[in-house]
Symmetry: C2
Subunit: 282 residues, 2 copies
């Protein structure tokens, strides 16, 4: 069992792991190993103290080197669900489970909002995780909405299983070409069905499906961890970065605006201290 | 009238001014011009994202250069009082007054706690500001407690005015030598008097005085700004770094633990955004 699981490799996650490591905490750090693609999105960062006028790419390199020099490595897993046990958390990554006494959510925000029916049908035909649920749709017809090119390997995996894939890429330059994949370049308006997801609806057509995969950088936090209090999609935290769930902390964009590197770094630090205090007081 | 006055040149103040400047805000930045001496106090900083394993001195140089490159300069003034007007703040520095629509307090924490009688007699024989009140004690007998060597120029100024100075330096290697200065290397236990401060008391002696100057890096925030809500010496803020007073924000060590560069930098950023939002909504 780890002391702390840090979920997310953006600025908040980096700050949290640096502090946890400096204080000799047993930690597991889950997320994209080359750090969150969001870090390198900025063209020029003018207001981060210590790195004058860097590009996002330069910042990413500095952060990456710093964590490596501290002996911290990312466990490159996509977290698909978090479960509050009586005295610890189980963090599910596909088929693999990690356990930690405390968890720090640094999951960012997904700019793409859930569509009508999405949250309603999660677990009943709607899935956020190709590697978890893909095998359920072997030989079936599915729709796959994907918000980011990074996740195309998951699309390929799904296309290798399903009979037919309606692919809805919400980014330009999709590179998926396969006989059983039909690309639809439109925003889906909703998911419909009676007891489970049965149709993905667009303005001018609808497709009948057995399931819908929504591949996103960040899953809505309240879906990721049941019972977590959110307002307008942001995790509610106090000044110690505590959420409404004991032993669960949150930092960075997922807790709300301003969406700024400095703010994320600050909260990652505060959350790390709060998590250590929580563990010591257990 | 400035948009925002930032008070304090530690990590929180630096982060606030970088963000305010990046967003084209009219700002005045008050404090020690070579930045807060606290920044350079650390031997090695292991957990500040972006500056791996720097010393405090190295961090100070990076921060200083960055603010200079952004065209931001410190107004080297010691803030002695802040006054809430109907729609703005007046910031008194000795005899000089600055006005701003909003104020961000990044005043740090003073590790030296007030002694009995100190807060009680502020304005009645106890002063935090040599340049403000020194002339009142021309030809009189005063005690001067000083917590930091940086402020020795204020001691010299007082010694040039007063007939007799009992100097209580709370740091090693005081360099003050003057005929009318008697150094007492003991911790004062309290200030006594009937209607005003009349005596500074030590374990084994007491000295009769006309006034007592307490020269510190940070004045207790609730003394600096009347009506400001504090708990255990820390300014009470919400997650937007708002205090209980409209248009007054606080960031960094003065808002509480953890006393960490990353936390201060994060709050400075958040306070800057909150101040801008406040001004825009006025």
């Amino acid at each position: 069992m780890y002391d702390v699981a840090v979920i997310g490799t953006g600025a908040a996650g980096i700050s949290a792991v640096l502090t946890l490591q400096a204080l000799n905490t047993e930690l597991v750090w889950l997320g994209p190993p080359r750090l969150s693609p969001k870090i390198s999105a900025a063209e020029k960062i003018r207001n981060y103290p210590g790195l004058p006028m860097v590009s996002g790419d330069e910042m990413r390199e500095v952060f990456l080197r710093q964590t490596q020099e501290m002996g911290i490595t990312v466990t490159p897993k996509n977290v698909t669900g978090i479960y509050a046990m009586s005295d610890h958390y189980g963090i599910l990554c596909g088929q693999e489970m990690f356990e930690a006494k405390a968890v720090i959510l640094c999951t960012g925000v997904e700019s793409v909002k859930p569509i009508p029916g999405e949250l309603e049908f999660v677990g009943r035909g709607v899935s956020y995780c190709a590697t978890c649920d893909g095998f359920l749709y072997k030989g079936k017809t599915i729709a796959v909405e994907c918000t980011t090119k990074d996740l195309e390997h998951e699309i390929r995996y799904l296309a290798s299983l399903a009979e037919k894939v309606y692919l809805v890429p919400l980014y330009p330059n999709s590179e998926i070409t396969a006989e059983n994949v039909e690309i639809i370049r439109k925003k889906p308006l909703g998911i419909e069905g009676t007891k489970k997801a049965e149709r993905l609806v667009f303005a001018d057509r609808e497709v009948d499906v057995d399931g819908v995969f929504m591949l996103k950088r960040a899953i809505a936090p309240s879906v990721l961890l049941s019972g977590l209090e959110t307002v307008d999609g942001h995790i509610v935290t106090d000044r110690q970065c505590r959420t409404n769930l004991k032993g669960c902390f949150a930092a960075g964009d997922c807790t709300g605006r301003p969406y700024q590197y400095a703010k994320s770094v600050g909260e990652g630090n505060v959350a790390a201290h709060a998590a250590i205090e929580y563990i010591n007081q257990r």
